[in-house]
Amino acid sequence: MIEVRGLSKRYGDKLAVDNLSFAVEPGKVTGFLGPNGAGKTTTMRLILGLDYPTAGTVHVHGKQYRDLPYPMHEVGALIDAKAVHGGRSAYNHLWCLAQTNDIPKRRVDEVLALVGLTEVAKKRTKGFSLGMSQRLGIAGTLLGDPDVLMFDEPVNGLDPEGIRWIRNLMKTLASEGRTVFVSSHLMSEMENTADDIIVIGRGRLIANTTIDKFIAENSTETVRVRTPQIDVLAKAVAVAGGTATAKGDGSLLVQGLSTDRTGDIAFEAGVRLHELSQTRASLEQAFMELTADSVEYHAGNQPGQAAGSHRAAAADGPAPAQTTGDTAQPADTAQPADTAQARTGRMN
């Protein structure tokens, strides 16, 4: 259980965390989301007492972090996987951490085995890949068998297998009744892992909700149709009460109607269909819209819009037929999930 109340942190004239309040519950994976520079890491540093808050309080199990009798038995935190002395072996790194909290030596071997680093335990960490460093960092968090786990961007730099491993680990840890608090700047990552999400932007709380609610509120079901008779189908959809938006590539996005209904309408109107599929607005898009105002640095010429609006602009380029004018919808709100994934790759 982590409780943050009225937390603020100022570095010089920059307010990195601004009156933040939230609680992280046990038995769940809580995603901590926000664009780069939103204050996620700072918040975690404040929770751990690495930085001192300008205002507000942070309690872990009802205590300030530095007052926990055995901090590693209660909290396992990984802020920066590369925050190790590269000249020290993985084994000795963990051993010197364990000793501060009177953790027995066999535990070091166990966590090394758990994260799969036994073979390189005696190697100096200087030569470790980012993925291996992440595993070493996670091993460190598990040394004390803590109730609360905090990971800052744990999947950064991991291969797909490593990502899956971390996801499973976080879920397992939560299912054992532990508090798992994990930050990410990727909604797609949290979609698969988190139960609750806390979204911040520019140090302020934007949303604190469950992932299911967030999905329900932010994803609109859309039917994607490809047809040579776009105008005919668009009119038929409008008559049936749906909203049709033509995309530049000869497809039509239909909202407000089910796939079945859209197919029936096409049949009745005598329109030939080359494709009929359901897509869901990506959570990534919803997340970007939510945090668009709080993104610190935008790439080049995209003022006020999160990344990915290139594509929208390109699609809008040849002035597509907007059949139902008043409910104009940005062309790429609805996208197949895989395209959204591809795009988030670019955001990194």
Binding site: Y65, P69, K82, L97, T100, E110
Partner: protein
């Protein structure tokens, strides 16, 4: 990359924790830290080789040229200082290690991991300083005694050697180790203040080596008044059997150096506790 063999977090249960993570565990941890990086061994080896090697070189040269030495040279000759002369250069090596002990925590980022494991910073800082002091004192004493005995052996051909029983000699040889340890602590304190390896070493060497040179260029009445207050003189006095002109005797003069070191360490302690890590 190593493959994952286990799913989930199934680990053996820990013995129930009673009490509180404190100084003892942190001392153990710091001892593991200091002996698990190569830079410790390298710097200690260099310290030993420089001090003992230079002492051997200087005493052999002195012995070889003793027959040609004039009366003035013979009068100012001191076999203890002659054999310990390497300590003067050894101080720069311990300055490096003293600074690295704390600044490497910052340069590698390890400080964040370490303070997450032991968030009670006062304990962390004291444990670090104690472990370093112990290591520096042991290597300092060993080095000083080895340099002394080797030097005296090399001087013995001309019967110009001395023994630990001679006035002030034992104090000077023990003082050689104290000098190394306190010099290292001085640098450790500066390292805590500036949190940067190169800056810490530059400041420490500037204070211990450059400041006395500058003071030497002042009008001599000033030099005579100022010199005894410099940290560097206090350090040098403790391994010199003879009292320098215009300075206090060995222990009070060494006390000046210890006072400076304590001031730097206390300032470091306060900043370390109150600054963001």
């Amino acid at each position: 990359m190593a493959t994952v063999t286990t799913e989930g977090s199934r680990l053996s249960a820990l013995p129930p924790a009673s009490g509180r993570a404190g100084l003892i565990g942190t001392l153990r941890s710091e001892f593991t830290k200091i002996r698990s990086v190569r830079s410790t061994y390298w710097t200690l080896l260099v310290l030993f080789v420089i001090c003992v090697g230079l002492g051997a070189l200087v005493t052999s040269l002195t012995a070889a040229h003793w027959s040609q030495a004039g009366p003035g040279q013979r009068a100012s000759f001191d076999p203890t200082r002659n054999s310990l002369v390497g300590l003067y250069f050894g101080q720069f090596v311990i300055v490096v290690l003293g600074a690295l002990i704390i600044t490497s925590e910052y340069s590698t980022g390890m400080i964040r991991t370490a303070l997450t494991a032991m968030p009670r910073r006062g304990i962390f800082y004291v444990a670090k300083a104690l472990v370093f002091t112990a290591v520096a004192l042991v290597i300092g004493e060993v080095t000083s005694f080895v340099a002394f005995f080797l030097g005296q052996t090399l001087l013995s051909g001309h019967h110009i050697q001395t023994t630990l029983g001679a006035p002030n000699v034992l104090r000077a040889v023990i003082g050689g180790g104290l000098f190394i340890a306190v010099t290292g602590l001085f640098s450790f304190g500066i390292g805590t203040l500036v949190r940067h390896t190169a800056a810490a070493i530059s400041v420490a060497i500037g204070v211990l080596f450059v400041v006395p040179i500058i003071v030497n260029f002042l009008p001599s009445s000033w030099t005579n008044d100022i010199m005894r207050w410099l940290p560097s003189e206090g350090g040098l006095a403790i391994w010199n059997p003879h009292q320098q002109a215009h300075e206090w005797s060995a222990w009070p003069e060494f006390g000046v150096f210890c006072a400076y070191t304590a001031a730097v360490l206390i300032a470091g302690f306060i900043l370390f506790r109150n600054r963001d890590a």
